[in-house]
Symmetry: D2
């Protein structure tokens, strides 16, 4: 059975630690409240085994139930800051960064990207107006942000919008944030995946569209995703996976498709608050990563 999940860590875990396929490297690190797992898919064999493009997949997982204290918030934000460092370093200095918040702001579990954009401390316009004057705090990087909306609302492929924008704004790197779909409900709102392989808008709860990646946009595209839903079909499939025979599985899947359609999702009751908090942690991490050394302490709650 094909592995269908947006998370490399879920794709990987079916193999078990001691049984990794060729072309896949895994490394883990424990924090107080989080576990960071770095999965590198380094060749085509690994690509096939995990059904994931070659590249780096970093997963920040909450050990505790929820992102509900300032301490955990800070640990997640700092981990995002730190894990973005090598990608930003590769651009050779202090890049101009464009944050793209994917997803539909009017559908709660899909609103992660737009919510992150709300909290980004944008500076590009100030830098531009100042013409390189000394008035601007040297710790502030060059950062802009956009939440273009989804194709069903705009009538325009998100990739087209971003490509048009890249050709005008000329950022050095894109960081795209989106809601994802997980296979296990236990990962919802508890996992942040950072990857340098780009992203396809609508992975979470829309239809898959044109990829945003270095191949399509000609600049590095780092993707940050958080699973906010599990689709009902995946849930059912997982539930019956080991328990039942093949023909039975098929029947149940067919039932599911008939009764649920593809339009239902599994999501936590507290999804509104959980998405808001995760968006705060990610935007905080992004602000720290780009405005390196700037002291956000005194305004941290309002960046949250």
């Amino acid at each position: 059975m094909e592995i269908r999940t947006d998370l490399a860590i879920e794709a990987g875990e079916i193999f078990g630690k001691d049984n990794l396929p060729d072309g896949v490297k895994v490394q883990s690190q424990e924090g107080n409240n989080i576990t960071i797992t770095r999965i590198d898919v380094i060749n085509e064999e690994g690509e096939k085994a995990l059904n994931k493009k070659q590249g780096a997949y970093i997963t920040i997982e909450l050990k505790d139930v929820e992102l509900n204290t300032l301490e955990i918030h800070n640990e997640v934000a700092e981990a995002i800051d730190k894990e973005l460092e090598p990608f930003i370093a590769k651009t050779g200095g202090r890049p101009s960064v464009m944050v793209v918040g994917l997803g539909n702001r009017y559908i709660t579990p899909d609103a992660l990207g737009p919510k992150v954009v709300e909290k980004i401390v944008v500076t590009r316009h100030v830098q531009k107006l100042s013409g390189g004057s000394n008035d601007i705090d040297s710790r502030l990087g060059n950062l802009c942000a956009i939440a273009p909306g989804v194709m069903g609302v705009t009538g325009i492929e998100t990739g087209e919008i971003i490509l048009g924008l890249v050709e005008k704004v000329h950022p050095d790197i894109i960081i795209a944030v989106d809601a994802l779909a997980a296979r296990k409900t236990s990962r919802i709102n508890r996992t942040v995946q950072i990857s340098d392989t780009g992203i396809v808008p609508g992975s979470g709860i829309g239809n898959r569209r044109m990829e945003l990646s270095e191949e399509t946009l000609n600049i590095p595209v780092i993707a940050i995703g958080v699973p906010t839903v599990v689709d009902t079909l995946t849930l059912a499939r997982d539930l019956i996976e080991n328990a039942t025979g093949d023909s039975l599985r098929e029947n149940i899947e067919k039932d599911m498709l008939n009764s649920c359609g593809a339009d239902n999702i599994v999501t936590p009751k507290n999804i509104d608050m959980a998405v808001a908090r995760m968006a705060n942690a990610i935007s905080n991490g992004l602000n720290m990563a780009v405005h390196k050394g700037f002291d956000f302490n005194d305004i941290s709650d309002y960046l949250l």
Copy 2:
């Protein structure tokens, strides 16, 4: 296995039309876009069979996929108006009506009740201030409305709040609106249940609390509910119901409880819009029922 659903029609349908238990009467009526089913539970036998209190359960079901045209909207609103008529007539004339919007306005699928309250055309304060003057349109009834919030947010049992209010405001009848849980995803946002047996706040996605009913409040309590979610456990149970043996079912349920907890729900992607539309139709129906004969046509979209 115990039947666990807020909908009498779901509890009833396991028997089949020709095999109704004693004490249960069912009658159906077709509209253009809706089907109305009236279930009466008339004695203890029926009560046990359906696991529902004695009383009337009227179900308005959309035939079509969604409540997405003005025509369907009007048909639903008019059906609510019409089905409320006998309950209002029983109070002997033109009662003062209190609409209670149950549920948590900050959790989308639980916000139906508060959203209905937003659209209610309240008149009680005007009637009171006018002291029975002739200035007020005689078609306008006496209507007030409150969305008291849920116990987790207020720290107060909803029943206490309403009881305190009833003792001050002295309405003749309460119409309580709440989101419910269904057993089948196909019923979500497509079914309106009207019942004279009262309601327990938190049926939808909270914990069950003190009942609002004629027994506890000493005035008639009509409940209007719309299923907006299916809980994941119920979904799993239904999926495997016919397909698997008893021991297997137990295992799968245990897995579900472990992996999902009770905190996940199944809900449609478009729940934000679906709840808003259903709230519009219900509030329109309620306004028509209480302000009998008043011409809402020219302001109907703004009451929506």
Copy 3:
């Protein structure tokens, strides 16, 4: 004193009907609930007199206090549809139309543009995917829509974003919607101005930026604006205009600037609802104008 208002009709009314400056033509038409005034600025003399670029300025004014019935709503939407007709006709047939919703969705009186975009029935992506097949209702035009956000939130000049988009999407015409500032509070939320002279993002309550117009984008740009605020300085100036001497005026203005800064606005209490209703009427008018002949009757309340 320089005339500072976004509305040509306000700029014009200081002259009086019988005393129009050269280069300015005015024509009026009465509807049931609205008055339509067409002002044409036809040469440089008119341009100077009104401090408005040469072009057509159509103003739809509500006679009644508010946009609060379905009848008035329909009259406004139909007027917008009708007044857009000649501009759309000039593109020579059925153009591909891009609606641009200017303004900040998180500031209520500035959210008109984004709210209009929410309700636009976009079809461009469907047309594109179908490759000109016959499956698509021939009455549906080619329509896309975007709410790019304001420069303070994105860090990108709105003109740059739209220019990038125009070069990718190649629309035949842009219709840009924005909140404006009026000079008189009585015009707030009661006036719709349609103009073929383009628009400067941020006219309403932001800073003035790069113009969106045929000069900058190489395609016709129709602007639709509604005044949602009056700035406090203008209000004060108007109040004292005729009543006081010059030196006094200066003192009061200085006081205003000191005590209020430029950051306060005058706006109605019910601005949230008023903007929502106006957005509904405009989006409805736009949908009718582009999807010519399509019957929105049966879904009109949901487009509202």
Copy 4:
């Protein structure tokens, strides 16, 4: 001219520090970012002079432009906590506290009270369920909270709702939070007034209604208010106060009433964010005051 302002400090400042009327005592205290002024109106003479009921009026004023850093936030929250102490002490121990959030949640500048209620850490229901068990952190007090809505939405006088609730819930003290109207725009969102004289719902931008106070509810009522608007008439009056003669003033006022009506308000552009922040600081202060000694540090951002 009658002094019309909800703020005692504004009523007082017309006298000047060295010229206080009999029956009014004023004391000031400087913090890093705030100034605290305690005004006591101690007899009828003071009452008349200030047009304020006898009692204590504590004003916390931001020195800086805005409540926009964590440091200022904490200073405001701690000041609220500290200033509430004597009022809470008077109830003789650890009272059960009911927070009442007044105002209309759907009108941004009037939504302060409902927003505070959202962030209150309610515990009454837990205390009640536990029946005095040792499981509950002894630092947690007994706190409940309600946002009853405004009369225009509920059809019920807010005083009636609260009176009904008091008779069921039997709190020892009520803390009522509401948006106020100031006379000077410079005070908007920069002033918190705490008073033991109760409050009249709708002071901010509604009509004045039945008072919530010890006289009407038989328990102490502490009011916390923040001015979020200035009404346009007051603004105009202030502008022309010193500058013009009496007959001119009357004319201008008449003009204002004619052109603006009573339905326009002056409010800052960033009112949405400003109200959210002030609500955070107040709810944080309330939580600290009631749950004395409880360590909110680790969850402070989520209480914010």
